[in-house]
Amino acid sequence: MSDVVLKNIGKTYLNGFCAIPSMDLTIEEGEFIVLVGPSGCGKSTLLRMVAGLESITQGDLLIKGNKVNEKEPADRDIAMVFQNYALYPHMSVYGNMSYGLKNRGTSKAVIAEKVNAVATMLGLEELLERKPRELSGGQRQRVAMGRAMVRDPKVFLFDEPLSNLDAKLRVQMRMEIRQLQRKLGTTTLYVTHDQVEAMTLADRLVVLNKGVAEQIGTPMDLYNKPATPFVAAFIGSPSMNLFDANLTEKGVSLSESLYLPLPHAHRGSIVWGIRPEHLAIVDEQDADFALEILAVESLGAETLVHGVLKDGSVQGKAMVVRLAGPHNPELNSLLWLSAPATHWHIFDAITQQRL
């Protein structure tokens, strides 16, 4: 049975700003859905509408088959983890975790049992008497998750829960969240603007752009077959190399003098793209084009080479190549590259849709 259903959901704020025009999404039980997109695209708005913190101005929201549009947040059986954790500063960790149960009239003995069980699961046993200000960022994060977990809700909502942590802790907490969610099997809606977080956590991803879902699918679907140039650029790091180009009878024309041969029925303006990891260094005679090297980023396990296409045009087109292992090419020298046609991504320049 599908757990959470968004039917033609829309949000227009009081000031007339339409943050979400219309959105359809069906979330299966136990699924981990990540909403991802640039700042201001409406991720938090959508999540807060599901939580009941923001009114729904259009469409229906169903949780376990019941329409909950008008229900108070408390009556939706959801739990939310906020970006700033929103821990009650004057209550101990125990107080924070038990507050929701207490408000629902749970008996003291049951509360103690549940809180202790969750505290053990999250490694918070030693910290139960502490106040939030006496905790580290990572510990606060855990308490916020604990507070959400004790109530055993139908749906977990996360709004950028890791963005206040340092990079290393973020990776660790990411894993923990994923493992916990698998273990508990609770349906989860998770908001982030970090595409690595999105790719690693999600069963399915929703890429939002200006309130519109550009594409919904598994991380690998989105990586292999991005539906639009926006998704292509957003998913994958470093971003896909995208060029405005033309499809002609001679193939893809990146500039007047540079053609990539490809038989294709379509003619006209396109956006042509290839991921940095799909470009390969080859001998000059096998190459599709040459890159003039402008900068090299050595990361140890991989090397990113930034440069411009040498295609005779005055202003070179910027391109990134991702090479496995250490490399040390000379700046301003030429790198001969091949771009295998199986890895091309071609979008219509006008409709912005994949061809």
């Binding site: 939580a51 913190l53 408390a74 009650y88 929701g100 408000n103 629902r104």
Partner: protein, 292 residues
Amino acid sequence: MTVTFPQKGLPWLLLLPQLLVTAIFFLWPAEQALEQAFYQEDAFGLSREFVGLENFVYLFTDPLYYQSMLTTLVFSFSVAIMGMSVALFLAVMADRVIRGKLTYQTLLIWPYAVAPALAGVLWWILFDPSMGPIALWLGSAGVDWNHYLDGNQAMILVVIASTWKQISYNFLFFLAGLQAVPRSLIEAASIDGASPVKRFWTIVFPLLSPTTFFLLVVNLVYAFFETFGVIDATTKGGPGQSTNTLVYKVFEDGFIGLDLGGSAAQSVVLMAIVGVLTVIQFRFIERKVQYS
């Protein structure tokens, strides 16, 4: 930042007006009172006699003085608690208003600009037993209002008249305090199943406690020392001793009873109380409870 002046004299010159005002209007009278407290003076101020601690002994054996202390405590706590409750209520309402917020808030700040004596006169007219609109309305509702005869009613009147002005001040602080409570905490509490009333008492009110404590001290100090004008304009300490607070008694005993020595001794006691309250307040401000 440190500013360095080229000449040594300039800072002193700039400070001079403030220092003069302090000396003439605070230090000199305080010194006079301190000295006066150890003398007995005749009613015309022509001769005086050193009497040591006699004024203080007399003061602390006078049952009227203890009664005045009790009156002051009742009065001050009533003013503080009433002023803060009403202000908090208004601030909570103002915090919720979305349209016309500024108008509403400005209106609530106005009373603060009215001089205490003027506010006193205003309430005096409103509650005048024979023609005051509120008194007449109370009369028609079956309450016989006459604060010239009924000590409790007199107390209620001075409390209302004194509270009125303080509400604006408290309101501003409470409103700022409320606006500093992170929205996400309220949202988290509502997801946690707390009703609006419960959210207020279990989350918002505890977070306001630094503001509340600060205002309690400020309001007590106000009720103790700055309500002379209100009392003088409404009840003049009466009927009987029912609204004769410590500060009003200093004036009454000194300028009406012409017991200058006794009045000075009372002033010295008041100075000590101010000192203690100031220390409490500074202590508190220093290690202000901070939530982040």
